[in-house]
Symmetry: C2
Subunit: 308 residues, 2 copies
């Protein structure tokens, strides 16, 4: 795996599996199956997530543990976060560490070492970062990442209700998030892989489909991570415009709708992993079909989950 | 201490000590004194920081552990972060957890529980947050904080070189950071204490003194945390304008220039704590003098460290 640009790796892995889905690993304690064994909360989370990883193996290319849910369990929870990343790597997943850090100088270097630095499988392949402090808060991650073929995703246009308060402000004739998107593209441009993407990706929410389509046109060298699918309201049609003409360029992320799919099937408490696997297959197929339908000159009636 | 607004507590504690200084606890491993004992890196950090807390007791009102330096030491480092907060509280310090988190919904709730929720002394009195996602990323911290007299500081105008890339963008006729400052003031306005400050403070860097002065005028109900003093180039005169007419309203933060003051005095390796104490006294006096000199109608020649 070494010596391959991180976005070349994800493009080729998405093609292999016919899936552009990233499953968010957000272990909400109150949504875990009642039947799940474990001597304490952390043990139950471990059992749950390890079973989910097993079930998603070969179905989706990427998983995204959300560190907040681990931090709330204390230092042992943080240890579990890194255990989950190591386990995910052993299954062959690429891993986004959803940490949304944003700090500068030696502090950013410390975060980079903590989250992108390890060589024992415990480092994420990407981390998510916040852009508010500018390139000072991104550079240390890219510098470390470039020596290890790792990258970042920078918050650009988020999917939450109050995202407009700052991101939609008019900044010189365009909304602020467009300006941030252009910065992200410039930050990643020093290390563009064979697939054409720089090593700084952008987080672009599914709940603003027209804006996402405009960003896609404006940022040809930027890979998108698209949250907000499913539980937050984004549909397959909404996210289709975040892909490039060749059907790559985006990962669509869902958490609860896959992870806790068993909750819509009350008889399946003991088969939560199977329910997650089915939901991940279904989501992958829906997205592949919508992307095919969206591409000019392709046959919308073609096979739903065909590799791009 | 309970049932008192967090910004009333800090205003009264600053007056008691005649100091508006916050010391950042950033344990750079390569800056620790050679003579420091300890069986491993974490143990050496603990010995260093506990000695620093002892030395600063009664000198400065607030300390600010920077979690990145603890995260880079792994889960045991995160445990030390919370140990340091507990120890600081036993000394009577107020504590800012410098975490700069920024996420939404249930994720923000998880972070809030992790960092503002504990009742064993391990919760910070404030955490620092990033504003890019809007109020969704702030509200869960304020909601939890209001039940426990805790608060937040939101990044508004930072002191680093690339802060202009986003914060200085023209947004409707004013730089973006002014807009963010107004948002922060509105977010804290539902819980204003007797001293007149809401429970959402603003991070306003020392390296933009004229902008900081303008923010001070525009945001009368917002307490400022001012980094960038010392090592980053901000002087006492630069930060004087971040205080209100009565000499309160701001905490000036320094990390390396206090924590590692011993490094300017090579004979003092074994007396690093004493060097930090002297540096903290000196910084407190410099700032008090500059604030006095800056206030209309006060005698610039008055006693340097007089309580406001």
């Amino acid at each position: 795996m070494a010596d391959q640009h991180i976005f070349d790796r994800v493009v080729s892995r998405c093609r292999e599996l016919g899936s552009a889905v990233c499953v968010g690993l957000d272990p909400h304690l109150d949504l875990l199956p009642d039947s799940l064994p474990g001597r304490d909360e952390i043990d139950r989370c471990r059992n749950f997530l390890f079973a989910i990883l097993e079930a998603l193996d070969g179905v989706v290319p990427v998983v995204k543990p959300q560190i907040a849910f681990f931090e709330q369990l204390g230092p042992d929870g943080v240890a579990l976060y890194f255990d989950v990343i190591r386990r995910a790597h052993r299954h062959g997943f690429l891993v986004i560490g959803d940490i949304k850090r944003g700090d500068i100088g030696s502090t950013a270097q410390a975060y980079a070492r903590a989250h992108l630095g390890a060589d024992d499988g415990g480092a994420a392949d990407w981390v998510t970062l916040s852009p508010y402090l500018g390139f000072d808060s991104i550079r240390p991650f890219l510098e470390l990442g470039r020596s290890r073929d790792r990258g970042v995703f920078v918050l650009t246009r988020t999917s939450n209700p109050t995202s407009d308060e700052i991101q939609a402000l008019d900044a010189g004739g365009a909304p602020l998030h467009r300006h941030v998107g252009r910065l992200v593209e410039s930050w990643g441009s020093a290390n563009v892989g064979e697939s054409g993407y720089g090593d700084a990706g952008a987080v672009v929410g599914a709940t603003h489909p027209e804006e996402a389509r405009a960003l896609r046109r404006e940022l040809p060298r930027t890979f998108f991570l698209v949250p907000g699918y499913g539980a937050q309201g984004g549909s397959a049609e909404d996210v289709a415009g975040t892909f490039d003409g060749d059907g790559s360029g985006a990962l669509i992320s869902a958490s609860r709708s896959v992870l806790f799919a068993y909750r819509n099937q009350p008889d399946k408490d003991r088969r939560f992993a199977e329910a997650a696997r089915e939901a991940a297959f279904e989501m992958s197929a829906e997205i592949a079909a919508a992307v095919d339908a969206d591409r000019p000159g392709t046959d919308a009636e073609g096979p739903a989950a065909a590799p791009a």
